[in-house]
């Protein structure tokens, strides 16, 4: 019970500062779960994000469920997800009830313009840290560059592939051209 409560509180914390989309939670998860607690490895986090990208649902919830499940089974998976949802639900209920012009308030606009800068830098540093674990040879470098270009600049390209297709494609590429045994 105590462990479930701890799990819940960690995800309440992560859910309350997860600005900028599912992938922005990665630096927070790294800090809370890899560095401070050693519950999961960075490789596992990357795997969870890849699977979360090509399975249905909100990526942040997929990743929360994975981590909770690894720690405390089915109950853990549910607890972590509910923890993640707690603060966003409260915030939207408050906004819907009292602050319908929330996003237009100058103080909110300015604060979030600042937060977005921080999220960019946090993501950049997470990529730097993860790089050597995912991009291990020339093939993975090419794969990275292709997927990055297709995902980041899809608006300027003649073809636009859904992210799930890109991720599944990378998995198939791995099955045909990957090496087993040297990772994980």
């Amino acid at each position: 019970m105590k462990e479930l409560l701890e799990l819940y509180l960690i995800f309440v914390k992560i859910g309350s500062v997860n600005f900028g989309g599912g992938y922005a939670m990665l630096p927070l998860l790294e800090r809370e779960l890899v560095t401070e607690r050693g519950w999961v490895t960075t490789e596992e986090l990357m795997d969870y994000f890849a699977i979360g990208q090509c399975t249905p649902g909100i990526i942040a919830l997929n990743v929360s469920t994975f981590i909770g499940n690894k720690r405390k089974g089915v109950a853990g998976g549910i607890t972590a997800s509910i923890g993640f949802l707690t603060v966003p639900i409260l915030i939207i209920l408050l906004i819907a009830a009292f602050l319908t012009n929330f996003a237009e308030l100058p103080v909110v606009k300015n604060a979030f313009a600042g937060i977005r800068v921080c999220v960019c830098v946090l993501i950049l540093q997470a990529v730097e840290r993860l790089w050597s674990k995912a991009v291990v040879d020339k093939r993975t470098l090419v794969l990275y560059l292709v997927i990055f270009a297709l995902a980041a600049f899809s608006a300027y390209l003649p073809v636009s592939l859904p992210a799930a297709v890109l991720v599944i494609g990378a998995g198939v590429f791995g099955i045909f051209f990957g090496k087993a045994g040297d990772k994980k």
């Binding site: 890849a50 699977i51 237009e104 300015n110 946090l122 995902a151 980041a152 198939v172």
Partner: protein, 190 residues
């Protein structure tokens, strides 16, 4: 039975929206057209709110739609409806993965998946940077390169980058500091 309807409508969204927040949008428009719980304008407002709150757009929209149709319990039930399929699917996948963890094909698939994962993370970073560090609308209007860069934001980004290397504060601390800097120096331009 509005609660059951809410739960099911958002359950369907959670079950079929693959690929995160924005993937829920087409489903939200469909719910709006079918049930009229919220308007297309509400969806546009919620995109703005989702950029200024921690939650994902799908989560926020389900809470909001549930609240306006069924009060506080409605908000909670709709959001749980959205989350339930994600949780079930991942619990099943986690179980299967555990069984096949040492299968060479699974290991090889992850060799590709990890590269994809970090590529998607980088792309997410670029998408945030486009709004945070650049000022595309002003550039398109004036055509002046000086207008393209949000100079204050770029300066903050550089300072944060080196500060994070030097000081090992919790990311939440840096997020809080950046919010304050944004307010003090009017990063939003208002």
């Amino acid at each position: 039975m509005i609660y059951l309807q809410l739960f099911l409508a958002f359950f369907k969204t959670g079950l079929f929206a693959v690929g995160g927040g924005l993937a829920t949008l087409p489903f939200l428009y469909e719910i709006s057209d079918t049930y009229h719980w919220f308007s297309h304008g509400d969806i546009a407002d919620m995109i703005a709110i989702s950029e200024s709150t921690p939650g994902a757009i799908g989560i926020n929209m389900s809470t909001y739609a549930g609240y306006i149709t069924g009060g506080v319990p409605g908000g909670i039930i709709a959001t749980l409806g959205l989350g339930t399929p994600c949780v079930i699917i991942i619990l099943v996948i986690a179980r299967i993965l555990k069984k096949f963890k040492d299968n060479p094909y699974v290991e090889k698939a992850f060799y590709g998946l990890r590269a994809a994962s970090i590529a998607m993370i980088s792309a997410a970073g670029i998408n945030v940077a486009k709004i945070a560090l650049f000022n595309l609308p002003a550039f398109q209007e004036t055509g002046s390169l000086l207008q393209l860069f949000a100079w204050k934001a770029i300066l903050l980004a550089l300072i944060l980058y080196f500060a994070m290397k030097k000081v090992k504060l919790h990311p939440i601390a840096f997020i809080g500091i950046s919010a304050l800097v944004g307010i003090l120096f009017h990063f939003g331009g208002v």
